[in-house]
């Protein structure tokens, strides 16, 4: 197996025609000229190409993803959805230098990411996770460039192109069951659309370069996808090879029109209620399926019923200025209120009292199973689901010249997760995306169907983002020059008033000595008993 494998996949429209103008394949290179379509690039290398060996050798599994802020389309088969920002998921080995890891993140991924040590990460069932709102991929791309440049000299131009990608990831999984990628570093970039003009050169003896132009041929919502098109291994094939293959995708978008839109109920103060409205055909994407197995030992037909069950889930990524009270959310789940069926988990910083400046972790994540609405029997009814989660904002850092801090809260990801006894092997898909992330919160073999965020795709004229605005009221620092002295003055005046009044009473009664003598108590008519009355 080649130690470097490079793959460019273009998903093109069925009208696309391969002509000499658009594609030109020769012995040692392929030229594309203004080919419109979705593009995914993948680079898989062995770790001996890495210059810096320590950090990535000390992890069992790592996945770093940068998702662009502007809303983009997830074109099949790249339907996996993820909140914008930088995601760092890691499964460290036993002895792990967290400090060193943070330094590596700041030098190789993005220097703006707040990372001090293990305390900056949140512990999730599969490892540790850090989310940051920064989306600048230039440092990560430089890291890739620096480490791969001796192996692949024209990495520079690839890296330049990747700076416009909607999604970039870098991952390494030593324990992967896929022996094509286990222990290898995988860099991936995805653009949802472009008109591609580029030259792809052949690699070398140890460097395989593959280009595919594919289109969807068939799509069975309950089963497999069929893709077909042309492939070429540059340097090996002098002509394109036609291809047709089936596979089961792990991630899909729901076929029915089901959209969602989150917002905070207005008005809100320190306890915003997060409301996500889901509209459309909110029915499970997979039905019960029957598997027929022909040919037991005596050629008998064995009819077994396989079952697939689907649950509707909401996955929330909450930066630390906002949080949920796990007791409150559990109570809602117990009452099946707010659209919540059960709380699968809440991970990260869940302290109910501390202000934002005392929080070490970046925030928290929450996975909820939701209650799909009963589908109406009559056509024309519009089922909808309202998911209402009570949230709370943390006290913000006081600052100059403002009484409000503006924050961006990522949209939750809503999806159906389906699995059952007869799920196919999805790892055979050439487009499988199965790494650290929300997939690992479910059983292996789970298929995901994402609902559509109700937001237009961003374009240079009208930029759109999957964010919900949150304003947190804060005390302006200008107040301090009054608050400090006036608090002290009023307290001191209060003390003095107390001393003065006590003195008045003291003087009236002739001092302490007199008071301790036997004297009539002011509230009763006759004295009686001990002096302590």
């Amino acid at each position: 197996m080649a130690s470097i494998r490079q793959r460019h996949t273009f998903i093109v429209h069925s009208q696309f025609r391969d002509t000499a103008d658009t594609l030109n394949l020769s012995k040692d290179k392929l030229t594309l000229n203004d080919v419109p379509g979705t593009r995914q690039d993948r680079l898989i290398v062995t770790t001996d190409h890495l210059k810096e060996r320590d950090i990535l050798q000390a992890v069992d599994n790592i996945r770093i993803e940068i998702v662009s802020r502007e809303n983009f389309a997830h074109i099949a088969p790249f339907n996996r959805q993820l909140a914008w920002g930088t995601h760092i998921n890691v499964v460290p080995t036993e002895i792990f230098n967290w400090n060193g890891f943070c330094k590596w993140i700041q030098s190789s991924v993005n220097s703006e990411i707040a990372c001090i040590g293990q305390q900056s990460f949140i512990e999730v069932p599969y490892g540790y996770y850090l989310h940051s709102p920064y989306t600048d991929s230039s440092q990560l791309l430089s890291y890739i460039e620096n480490n791969y440049s001796d192996a692949k000299p024209d990495i520079v131009s690839e890296v330049e192109e990747a700076s416009t990608a909607n999604y970039i990831s870098l991952s390494l999984n030593k324990n992967s069951t896929d022996n094509k990628t286990a222990g290898r570093l995988i860099a991936e970039a995805y653009w949802y659309y472009g008109r591609w003009t580029k030259t792809v050169k052949a690699g070398g003896p140890d460097h395989r370069v593959e280009v595919g132009l594919l289109g969807k041929i068939a799509d069975d919502p309950q089963g497999e996808l069929t893709y077909g098109g042309i492939l070429a291994v540059i340097g090996e094939n002098e002509q394109f090879v036609p291809t047709l293959f089936d596979f089961s995708p792990r991630h899909r978008s729901v076929y029915q029109p089901a959209v969602y839109y989150p917002d905070f109920r207005q008005p809100y103060g320190l306890h915003p209620k997060h409301l996500t409205t889901v509209l459309g055909d909110i029915s499970p994407p997979r039905k019960k399926i029957t598997a027929i197995d022909v040919g037991g030992e005596d050629g008998e037909i064995d009819v077994s019923e396989a079952t697939t069950s689907c649950g509707l889930y909401g996955y929330y990524v909450l930066p630390n200025f906002i949080f949920v009270d796990k007791y409150q959310v559990s109570d809602l789940a117990d009452a099946q209120a707010g659209g919540i069926k059960r709380v699968v988990g809440i991970w990260g910083e869940t302290d109910l009292e501390i202000p934002v400046w005392m929080v070490e972790k970046w925030g928290s994540t929450m996975l909820l199973e939701l209650i799909p609405p009963e589908q109406p029997l009559l056509a024309g009814g519009m089922p909808h689901l309202d998911i209402e989660i009570p949230m709370h904002s943390r006290y913000e850092v006081p600052r100059w010249n403002t009484t409000r801090v503006k924050h961006d809260v990522p949209w939750p990801t809503l999806f159906w997760a389906c699995n059952g006894s007869a799920e196919p092997d999805m790892a055979t898909s050439p487009f499988d995306s199965n790494g650290l992330g929300h997939e690992y919160l479910f059983d292996p073999g789970t298929m995901f169907y994402y609902l559509h965020p109700n937001q237009t795709i961003s374009n240079p004229v009208n930029k759109t983002y999957l964010v919900t605005n949150l304003n947190i009221p804060v005390v302006p620092l200008e107040a301090y020059k009054y608050v400090q002295p006036w608090t002290v003055i009023v307290i001191l005046l209060g003390c003095m008033w107390i001393f003065y009044k006590a003195f008045l009473g003291f003087r009236r009664d002739g001092g302490i000595r007199k008071a301790s003598g036997v004297k009539p108590d002011k509230d009763k008519l006759e004295k009686k008993g001990p002096k302590t009355e």
């Binding site: 103060g269 320190l270 804060v474 005390v475 006036w486 006590a502 302490i512 509230d523």
Partner: protein, 389 residues
């Protein structure tokens, strides 16, 4: 209908029963719950304890484990805690009447003043919502009653128990010690004459009760007990908005935007000096019960954190102050006192509502001014009461 002890106590009980059932209704049907969030903290802590864990498994449980133990029946009967707290109210009221008798107040007047506590809707609400202040009130009245009954050792034990429960009753120790004048000295003449039998009994019994309880809890629950029950309250910089005049200063000072102000850490000084040293020395020998009232009022007024539950701490002692109070003799003084105290809170609550539910930054000047105004009203009332004693 003539007010008798039995009728008063029964009315107080019925009132609490009515509030309790109303609470059950509101919990089921309204968006805002009647039951206090603290009650869920206590009952969860009891549940974790019953399951073999510790009460500190429940986040924000900041009390002695004894409370979780007392509420263990809530795992079966959720309402048990509220019953216990409401009963605490009634016991406090009944012991209050006994104290009035020992002080020689006529039964009619005693019943009237005890109703300030027993028939007070604010008090009944707090207990039936599930706040533990009623239990604490019973402890404070009980320790005072024991002093009046000359049961010094019992009084010391109850004081030790109360301090273990809530820390602040420690301010009563100097008052009681100072007031216990009447028994023979055990250390001869001169200055040491001050050390008399009663004082020694009280000091020893309260100290031993406190250390035994605290030691036992530490032995069972270790460091989390110390951390949550005591250390948290001492180092607490609760900047979330509340009635305390230090509130906004604490918020800004605790933040990284400014160098930490030296003043909040000094806040203990006026508070403890006034409530723990000055007032006991000046007033305890004149009238112990009234002194305890103004001490508690001063403690709450000067505290770094103040929520409406804290008012219970001094309202339980208010009936002792009232009988010869200038605020009753001069009706307008009393009426204005009550009006201003209520209005100042209403002002704060209005600013607090704007912040919490409408998102307007009312921290400054709104909440800041409201806390200073409330503080000033309290100081004025406190001044009147102190001069009165």
């Amino acid at each position: 209908m003539k007010l008798t002890t039995a009728r008063l106590l029964i009315s107080a009980a019925l009132m609490r029963v009515a509030f309790f059932f109303y609470g059950v209704y509101q919990d089921e049907h309204a968006e805002i719950r009647f039951t206090d969030i603290d009650y869920f903290v206590f009952t969860d802590a009891s549940k974790f304890t019953a399951q073999g864990g510790t009460p500190y498994d429940r986040a924000t449980y900041r009390y002695t484990p004894i409370l979780a133990w007392l509420l263990l029946p809530t795992t079966q009967y959720f309402w048990f805690g509220k019953l216990l707290f409401a009963l605490g109210d009634i016991v406090a009221g009944w012991l209050m009447l006994r104290i009035f008798q020992l002080r020689g107040l006529s039964n009619d007047r005693a019943l009237k003043f005890a109703s300030v506590w027993l028939l007070n809707p604010m008090v009944a609400t707090i207990s039936t919502r599930g706040s533990s202040e009623g239990l604490l009130g019973a402890m404070v009245i009980a320790l005072l009653w024991a002093v009046y009954e000359k049961q010094i050792v019992l009084s010391g034990a109850l004081t030790g128990y109360a301090v273990h429960f809530k820390i602040y009753p420690i301010i009563y120790v100097p008052s009681i010690l100072w007031a216990l004048d009447s028994s023979p000295s055990i250390l001869g003449n001169g200055i040491l004459r001050w050390v008399n039998k009663d004082r020694v009994k009280f000091a020893l019994s309260s100290f031993m009760t406190f250390t035994t309880l605290t030691g036992a809890m530490y032995y069972i629950y270790g460091h989390p007990f110390l951390l949550h029950t005591y250390l948290h309250h001492l180092s607490r910089s609760d900047h979330r908005h509340n009635f305390s005049p230090y509130n906004i200063l604490l918020y800004i000072s605790a933040s990284p935007s400014v160098d930490e102000s030296p003043y909040p850490s000094l806040a203990f000084v006026p508070q403890l000096f006034i409530s723990g040293i000055f007032l006991p020395l000046m007033l305890a020998k004149k009238d112990l019960a009234k002194t305890m009232f103004v001490q508690t009022f001063a403690f709450v007024t000067f505290n770094k954190v103040c929520t409406s539950q804290y008012f219970m701490w001094y309202i339980v002692l208010l009936p002792f102050y009232l009988p010869s109070s200038a605020m009753l003799k001069n009706k307008w003084l009393g009426i204005w006192g009550l009006i201003l105290w209520t209005l100042a809170q209403a002002l704060w609550l209005q600013q607090g509502f704007e912040l919490e539910y409408l998102g307007n930054s009312t921290f400054f000047p709104g909440i800041f001014a409201a806390t200073l105004i409330f503080f000033s009203v309290n100081i004025w009332i406190l001044g009147v009461a102190i001069e009165d004693i």
